[in-house]
Symmetry: C2
Subunit: 145 residues, 2 copies
DNA sequence: GACAAATGCGTGAACACGCACATATAATGC
DNA sequence: GCATTATATGTGCGTGTTCACGCATTTGTC
């Protein structure tokens, strides 16, 4: 392994993995403590909130998140039981289903998102200058193609 | 959400998450296809290989990886069944156990690591200059304190 | 129009992981 | 030396996720 990566590659890639692991643990615990939400549950609420109509197709949620379709299907099921989301048949394609944010879900998300933002800022964003954040953003943009 | 982060924060943090998700899927599939290994299994083999004696205590593996101690215990169990690792009692502390890389494990890792390196290089490292990788490494180092 | 292929979603089974606890051993205090 | 506490690991159980598959519907082809 010492041969496959040189030192600066090791720092860049290894650090990336390590930082993600650490942030992941911090966020998971933070969300759980104040909002009783899993990271993936939060992400689903986030995507729905971003959408103007507060609704998205299951497949689109899956494409943008870490989960597979079946995974999304179960998350939506949990969120539905909690009253934060409801399912609706898609009128334009009767195979399809929308996950729709409920009022309770939107409210719950609003609070969770604010606390979550503070957490991310405290543990990540605040460590960098604006220029550095821009640089980082450009790094990621380059990988998105 | 549009309020909690400004644009460059969004790019830096959102991009970070998105890139991790993408890389994670790529790596998982890559490792599975040519070496029949999970990412966490690979990581355990990696840590053991890094160690001069090819052995580590369960707790130390847990501290350095994403898993908890019990998680590591089960990964080692799987790897032991596959013949890539064997357990040995710790002579200096009879509560403890070492995971020791077998010859087969070392060989399997050697091949997997090379292919893995190519994958990481092709999908991540190659997109950046050496200076940029250094910059990135410094970013991560700043978060490790 | 009718039939085949593809697509969207849900579900049973398998499995990986964390939590809490059990067991064995070490370390500490008296 | 003995009792208590702390530590290292393994394990039963619950939960979450994927895989494989089934059902319903749409799309494409003739």
């Amino acid at each position: 392994m010492s041969k496959t990566f040189n030192e600066c590659e090791q720092n860049a890639w290894g650090g990336f993995l390590s930082v993600y692991g650490k942030m992941s643990r911090i966020i998971e615990e933070d969300l759980q403590s104040h909002s009783h939400l899993t990271h993936v549950e939060f992400e689903v609420l986030l995507r729905l909130s971003w959408n103007e109509t507060h609704q998205m197709r299951i497949q689109d949620l899956a494409a943008e998140s870490i989960l597979t379709r079946s995974g999304v299907s179960r998350v939506v099921e949990r969120l539905e039981k909690a009253g934060l989301v409801k399912r609706e048949e898609a009128p334009e394609d009767r195979r399809g289903a929308y996950a729709v944010l409920t009022e309770a879900g939107a409210e719950r998300f609003r609070i969770a998102a604010q606390k979550h933002g503070e957490c991310v800022r405290a543990n990540f964003l605040s460590k960098f200058s604006e220029d550095e954040l821009k640089t980082m953003g450009e790094f990621w943009a380059r990988l998105e193609e």
